[in-house]
Symmetry: C2
Subunit: 263 residues, 2 copies
């Protein structure tokens, strides 16, 4: 089916998911929307997050997408069921795939979750883990400074290490063996997080497993691309913020060709 | 004249200006707007900052304000002249008052300015200082992590000190004797900034001087309040974010009574 896949995020963090989809499904066309004019969502109210994500879903639907990936943990955690109830097309969040990976990875059934305030307060990760594995112990902590640190490129500075030590100390104390990076920005800090948590803790980020899930759904619904020539990917942003090229390159790994501002 | 004063900011930082206006002009009614759904503005493009600030000015004008205070350095630095050209009523930014105070304070004519990326890239402080005092030397640096640190309450933690040392080192090296805190969030970090810069550097924040300027304009235009009973202040926000009560109390010092969400 020659329709694009829609992927959206509150900003540019979702480009880590786009990167994984590029790798797993190179033949599919992507329409991406990043809400850079209103980023970040992590401290906003659930009502406002729902309003914004509905506007974006409408925008993607107007581009005739066959499937939507919510490449934002905050939206996935607070608004996914609500959003899904408004549309007939498949809408995939980043939480279920990460939870499945974390359950596969854990040996002692102690799983940690870090994310924005909105994500952690929603209890979405905890509920999903306990639904699938009732005997698991889940420890969740909000880490609101990690997004600005990642965006500013303070990836392994002494200040970042102090802040991570502070945020992660309670998780180390609980003896978790698996940690879900519940925000699309956190993979940029993966090395420093690994250094603080130690080698025995498995870090889970959902980008790759989301891509695998998208592939499975397209296959099941028989909606995978059969185009002989792939249509160009399109990237929309509500603002072209300062540092845009550096940031997008950090997250996506390559330069974006087709960019438009909208909304 | 029994019309309110309109004050706006990208979020809650502008409440430091409201606090100063309360003190200087207790008889005036305030209508405040904080764009908490789209905060922060500091890394956004000038085009988007103009669009947002125009929407907010229109909102305040619809409340029949007699004067508008742009209690946001990023908007004042990037969009004040443009905004002023659209209205007949007086519009006051935070830059001129801070510059006047800094020029009064400096003895060696070396003035430092810190602010968001948008504020620093606009050169608004530098241009204004050099216009008033051509022999001054101005050194400006963006400090994008200070807003999230202040909002998260990391006011004097070791990580904040490391980040401030890093940001402020070049200013110390230049031998400035006056430092403009060019963002309404920075007064919360004043003690730590003073500790890093040393006692011999005067810190300038514009809240009090903006309030004095408002008083002078109301007097000059004969538009000061003559109401026997003061109308209640009104506070509008585009979102009630998480941590809202803690944050507003940190910035305003008192609890807000009349709050509505809008825009």
């Amino acid at each position: 089916m020659n329709k694009p896949i829609g992927i959206f995020d509150s900003g540019i963090g979702g480009l880590t998911v786009v990167k994984a989809v590029f790798k797993t499904l190179p033949e599919e066309q992507i329409v991406y929307f990043g809400d850079t004019a209103r980023v970040p969502y992590g401290n906003k109210s659930t009502l406002t997050i729902k309003k914004f994500s509905y506007q974006i879903a409408q925008f993607l639907v107007s581009h005739d997408v066959k499937l939507i990936v919510v490449a934002c943990n905050t939206v996935s955690a607070t608004s996914l069921d609500w959003l899904t109830s408004h549309y007939l097309l498949p809408i995939i969040g980043v939480i279920e795939p990460a939870v499945e990976d974390a359950i596969k990875a854990t040996r002692n059934n102690k799983i940690g979750v870090i994310g924005t305030r909105a994500t952690i307060e929603s209890n979405a990760y905890q509920n999903s883990i306990l639904h699938k594995k009732p005997n698991a112990k889940v420890y969740s902590y909000p880490c609101p400074l990690l997004v600005p640190l990642a965006e500013e490129g303070w990836l392994d500075s002494p200040a970042t290490k102090i802040i991570l030590n502070d945020y992660l100390a309670p998780l180390k104390k609980k003896g978790i063996d698996t940690l879900i990076l519940g925000c699309t920005h956190y993979p940029l800090l993966e090395n420093t997080i690994r250094e603080v948590m130690g080698k025995n803790v498995t870090l889970v980020n959902s980008a790759d497993s989301v891509a695998k899930k998208v592939k499975a759904i397209l296959h099941k619904n028989k909606t995978a691309s059969d185009a002989k020539i792939k249509s160009p990917n399109k990237f929309y942003f509500s603002d072209i913020p300062r540092q845009f090229s550096t940031l997008t390159k950090n997250f996506l790994g390559v330069k974006i060709k087709y960019i438009k501002t909208t909304l």
